[in-house]
């Protein structure tokens, strides 16, 4: 029984580490949804851009891995800003007939385009060498240095974002727009610029997640699919648009997945079904609370 218990706690620790990365994806999505009311269906492709940028810089250009990580973040930021300007701006300006449907279709199309672009450019499944060599042993569990780095960087980025949103003027402006767009606009905040910043920041966070996970899960054109889906599950759990809710949702998802694997006897199947638990939880939550675990039921006028 002791063996089971230590295995259980090892899985728990593992869950917390992986949920830091999930949180990075989910908070990025939440930031975009909170301000633009858009679910970014191309979020996985932002993750992919981060992963590939890091991979090419490290293996082809010989850039220092940590510098590559920073450049990947900038690449995500720039890409997000460009995508918002080129494809989502007409929506913010009210030039689109059905904004909700347009947003779903256009971000989906960006996702299709980016993924297929990578299939033409570089479809191989490869990854950069690990950022940190070495392992840490905790009980029966060995945690790779990269996983520890990934969760540490994620937590740092999240903390920086929270500081930015709650303690600085531009961050307050972003929150103001998310709470009441016309009012914020009346007070002199340019909501269009805030849209641009939120999309850029959200995609930057996905790119950082992608760069961090590239040595662990490898780069491929569809590398962003699963992380993005996890992000969607989490924001629904966390009630769409609440940053704190999506952080809690990430921890919950990490727990469901790891504990689900504990109780699955067949190890190969446990691995395959890891990704299913979160989805089942999503379906169950939507069945019982269609507006998310922490979401407020929207009043219809």
């Amino acid at each position: 029984m002791g063996g089971f218990l230590s295995y259980f706690f090892a899985q728990l620790l593992n869950a917390l580490i992986i949920s830091a990365i999930y949180a990075l994806m989910a908070v990025g999505l939440t930031l975009i949804f909170g301000i633009m009311k858009v679910i970014n269906f191309a979020h996985g492709e932002m993750y992919m851009i981060g992963g590939y940028t890091a991979y090419f810089l490290i293996t082809r250009a010989g850039v220092n891995p940590f510098a590559a990580l920073a450049i990947a973040a900038v690449a995500g930021l720039v890409f997000g800003a460009v995508v918002e300007r080129a494809f989502l701006r007409p929506m913010s300006l009210g030039r689109v007939e059905r904004p909700g449907e347009y947003a779903i279709l256009i971000t989906f199309a960006i996702s299709v385009f980016m993924r297929n672009l990578m299939i033409v450019l570089y479809p191989f499944s490869t990854g950069p060498p690990p950022y940190v060599v070495g392992k840490v042993k905790v009980g029966p569990l060995t945690i790779g240095g990269d996983r520890i780095l990934a969760s540490a960087v994620s937590i740092a980025v999240l903390a920086a974002l929270l500081f930015f949103l709650y303690k600085t003027w531009p961050g307050r402006a972003m929150r103001a727009v998310s709470q009441n767009r016309p009012m914020a606009s009346a007070l002199g905040i340019n909501p269009i610029r805030v849209d641009n910043w939120s999309f850029a920041l959200g995609s930057m966070m996905a790119a950082v997640a992608g760069a961090l996970m590239a040595p662990i899960f490898l780069c491929s054109p569809s590398m962003g699919a699963m992380p993005a889906i996890k992000g969607y599950v989490i924001i629904v759990l966390g009630g769409m648009g609440s940053i704190l809710g999506s952080i809690v949702g990430s921890v919950l998802l990490g727990l469901f997945e790891s504990l689900g694997s504990v109780f699955m006897p067949d190890p190969t199947r446990a691995l395959a079904y890891r990704d299913v638990y979160g989805l089942l939880v999503l379906v169950a939550v939507l069945l019982l609370r269609p507006y998310g675990l922490f979401g407020e039921r929207e009043r219809e006028a």
């Binding site: 059905r98 279709l105 256009i106 889906i229 999503l282 379906v283």
Partner: protein, 335 residues
């Protein structure tokens, strides 16, 4: 207009002339283009046309962005294949069973997503498709996983023509069904739901019934063509439910023109033929880029072309590429 009235209203010679001419032309294909490769392409075009039409009925007309259509098709395919293999029933019965199980899945998903707005619905249907794909891959003992499951053929003849007529029949039925629904009062109801569900329900539209109805009918037909796919291609794998397949169906609908009846059909034929053309052109395009910018592509170009077309269409001409052309021609003819 009730369904019967809507059906009768379409039975006017002026309205029927063009569709009948097109279908006669299509039905003569095995004699004109032979039973080779191009008939195969036509069969696939019709498979996608059915999916694109019902996706359009759900997303274009009702405003429910479902990403579950390939999952319904996969459910139909695997149900039919597994029952035919293990229970030794005839493939024809397997077809019906596949369609029925897919329909039940659609009914379930329809009720599950009932209280959701567009975005939640899209996310839930993505989750549903992923669950299906993972389960089909993981349950190796039953489905042979990613290796693929060999399926017995529907007919004992090697000829493609009978398959062609079966899918033509399903395709024709789907055109009639979508046409009648859209032109009946139910067509008005679902469009009202799309514009404003709350208002529609206040005006006495039973939104629950019609939303579930659209999903269920779509799932039924998708399951049916999925079962056809299984017994025609003879090898099915969880790759049926993969992202790029759903993207292709959506691309067909969007390029043809959402919220039109003929748009997804023309879009499906256009994209499927473009797909085959680009497949054969791939070496030529590769050669061109190698010579001009010394770049060697690692993968196929056709998927990128679809992505670019989809992106450009949604951004620049949200009504689609084909529907505006058709309405312009129709207007000129009417004048």
């Amino acid at each position: 207009m009730s369904l019967a009235e809507a059906f009768r209203a379409q039975l006017k010679p002026r309205k029927l002339a063009l569709p009948i001419a097109v279908f006669t032309l299509l039905a003569s294909a095995p004699f004109t283009i032979g039973e080779g490769y191009w008939l195969h392409v036509l069969i696939f075009a019709m498979y996608y046309a059915v999916l694109a039409q019902f996706w359009n009925l759900e997303a274009g007309y009702t405003g429910q962005f479902s990403f579950a259509y390939m999952a319904y098709s996969g459910i139909g395919a695997y149900t039919s294949a597994l029952t035919v293999i293990h229970l030794k029933i005839s493939p024809a019965l397997g077809f019906l069973l596949g369609a029925l199980v897919a329909m039940v899945a659609g009914l379930f998903l329809g009720y599950l997503t009932l209280r959701m707005r567009a975005v939640y619905l899209a996310l839930t249907t993505i989750a549903f498709s992923e669950i299906m794909r993972i389960v089909l891959t993981a349950e190796y003992w039953l489905t042979r996983g990613a290796l693929g499951l060999s399926v017995p053929p529907l007919l004992s003849t090697p000829s493609k023509a009978p398959y062609f007529y079966i899918i033509l029949g399903i395709f024709a039925a789907s055109v009639v069904v979508v046409h009648v629904i859209v032109n009946s009062k139910y067509g008005l109801f679902i469009r009202a739901i799309r514009e404003d569900e709350h208002a529609a329900s206040c005006m006495g539209v039973n939104t629950v019934r019609y939303r579930v109805m659209v999903t269920t009918i779509g799932a039924l037909f998708s399951g049916l063509v999925g079962a056809f796919y299984a017994h025609y291609v003879l090898l099915i794998s969880p790759n049926m439910i993969v992202f790029s397949e759903m993207a292709k169906v959506i691309c067909m609908s969007v390029v043809g023109g959402m919220e039109t009846i003929y748009g997804p059909i023309i879009g499906a034929f256009f994209i499927q033929f473009l797909d085959e053309y680009l497949r054969t052109m791939n070496p030529v395009i590769n050669e061109f880029f190698k010579r001009t910018i010394n770049f060697t592509a690692k993968g196929e170009w056709r998927l990128l072309v679809f992505g670019a077309i989809l992106l450009a269409t949604i951004r620049l001409t949200p009504q689609g590429l084909i529907a505006p052309l058709v309405s312009r021609v129709a207007k000129r003819r009417g004048r």
